[in-house]
Symmetry: C2
Amino acid sequence: MDFKSYIEEKGKKAKEGARRLASTSTRVKDSALLAMADALERESPALIEENQKDLETAKEKSLSSSLIDRLTLNENRIKEMAKGLRDIVALPDPVGEITRMRQRPNGMQVGRKRVPIGVIGIIYESRPNVTADSAALCIKSGNGVFLRGGSEAINSNKAIAEILIEAGLKAGLPDGAITMVDVVDRQAVMEMLKLDKYIDLIIPRGGEELIKTVSANSTIPVIKHDRGLCHTYVDEDADIKMAEDICFNAKVQRPGTCNAMETMLVHKGVASAFLPGMIKRLQQAGVEIRGCQKVLAIDSSVKSATEEDWNTEHLDLILNVKIVDDMEEALRHIERFSSQHSEAIVTNNHQRAMRFLKEVDAAAVFVNASTRLHDGGEFGLGAEIGISTTRIHARGPMGLEELTSAKFIILGDGQVRE
Amino acid sequence: MDFKSYIEEKGKKAKEGARRLASTSTRVKDSALLAMADALERESPALIEENQKDLETAKEKSLSSSLIDRLTLNENRIKEMAKGLRDIVALPDPVGEITRMRQRPNGMQVGRKRVPIGVIGIIYESRPNVTADSAALCIKSGNGVFLRGGSEAINSNKAIAEILIEAGLKAGLPDGAITMVDVVDRQAVMEMLKLDKYIDLIIPRGGEELIKTVSANSTIPVIKHDRGLCHTYVDEDADIKMAEDICFNAKVQRPGTCNAMETMLVHKGVASAFLPGMIKRLQQAGVEIRGCQKVLAIDSSVKSATEEDWNTEHLDLILNVKIVDDMEEALRHIERFSSQHSEAIVTNNHQRAMRFLKEVDAAAVFVNASTRLHDGGEFGLGAEIGISTTRIHARGPMGLEELTSAKFIILGDGQVRE
């Protein structure tokens, strides 16, 4: 198969679709999203059948049960997918907003108009619902979407995409607004990453390996959704009860997510008041504690943390704990090991709260709140396509607004350059 | 020479410098910029001496006189460079601005805080003043700067960078805030483009070849400053006198720039009233006109435009002219040939003005004004590091604000994820 022409042809069509989608009205986009939600529910038996094929292959390949769980579609999950689409309909359309329109000394008005980015390539793994989520967010923000899911979910992804494309076309979306790469060969991804003529942005959603490959090979701008090695610093002046609740939530509520806490840093001044109760509560919830030598001196049941632990995103019920002499040491530890995703301080000291906000370099910095709240919905952005760990365009949750760009518009009455 | 370790060592130092610069006060940054400006003027004899070396090599290599002109430093140009630095001092510091701080239903406050991007790599050609401009814009916006100028200006660039670094250090800037790659080998650039561990953004400033190489090889996000193939559409309802002034300015005022007009599209309804006078005025200013067959029918002195002409950024006193049947044809031509840099319409018809603003896809879209006004200063952004043709992060002029990013900040009182 000639992957280059296959991808190029799809890309060309996607660019043309995106161009027309950019000036498609909110009404048409919303009614298309509603039609897609209905179609997903209506077609759920067929969808589940296609999903079965992927599940069988997964079992043959002896994929882990958690992977198989993430891969599985059932009546309920399809309903959730449809609800996700309807939720996006309820969000305001970001396209067309005009901001900062100002008059210049020569009398011309200069402002910015929010516009779609163009064609957005999504390269993702495993969960088939990403197909519907990503497509819906891109469509609502006026972007063409160029989807490439993982081979393990190819039948499910194809079936979802076909339903979305058909429902969208019927509801008036331009041809090419949604594109699906339906070959699993890796070469197709490589060609996609070079298609800067037609694709304007690549968003990889998946494991470290995927993100590395994409960054290394793409000639298209990439916004990474990378790992989260998140810390919570319990300050000398922390409210002990609040610190316990926040840390417990940050570690236990959903340990497999990127905004879960991996390391808890505790000021020596509160260690003896805070740690024994906290460790007990965490251990009762099944958390394995790996501590520094000072922690071991307080609680000998704790395992000793290795240098590697401080640098590991456990994504599991494992927590590194370190006692620090002062805030400076906590900041230095964070600076060294943080993946700059989500970082928190618990303190009642205003000066230290402000210093933490100022000096800690992360997509989201929390005072007295759980890092688990790092989320588009919790932040009030609505649905998100993921959490960006790239330092340009958008850091943190990428909602509809972050899927747009701005062009300058200038209203003159004959102005020229002097 | 081991370019990999050379570049990596510099990168590491730059990252550390940038980290400290991020929380350096505006006062220190501004006094450093003033000290740099003074130092450039004070050291101008030494600077001119170093520049002479580059000029001699350029002459030996028989570079074109326009290139040699761009390379030349003299008393006056050094004064201008220093003035550029002082102008940046006068601009407000973008770092630290907090926007959109809102209370969420659970009582936590979520907002965005403007922060530097980190280390910005600038890869540029020819004009040595770019060294001072770029460094100053990066420093003011709290970013470390990693400079790599062209080999033809290596002695001038090194001398400028040394003066800036020394003056900056004395005024309190952190070590590593300004970094200069002082080897000319191409391998050094290649290593720089892979340094995603330490460099957060690459801005290439130069010709098409440079931009292509950078995009193809960088694992770091790139914001391109690409070519401008700009159109002006003179509508049926244009004010003839206004159209003449705008088009004349867009072509003639500085034809070698990326925002100069390359193609003029004229509605057939005004062609006979507008074109004869316009062509005469342009020809008197030395402009060579290359027209479509319909233009030739009006003025037989005009050369016939080839297909290639419509696709060429002349950067010279050459203008393509095409008569179109309607606005639709103009939009289709623009869509096909535009480099999405600067596009203009001249019209008194409100509906068509609004349609042009909506449908034309470019970094800046003008109604009744010259494309030459596409500039950070003219738009009120202050000094710019260039004009971005990338569709994410920033389109159009990149001023201080566009050299920053935003992190989320969250103020809670014990909030956890439900």
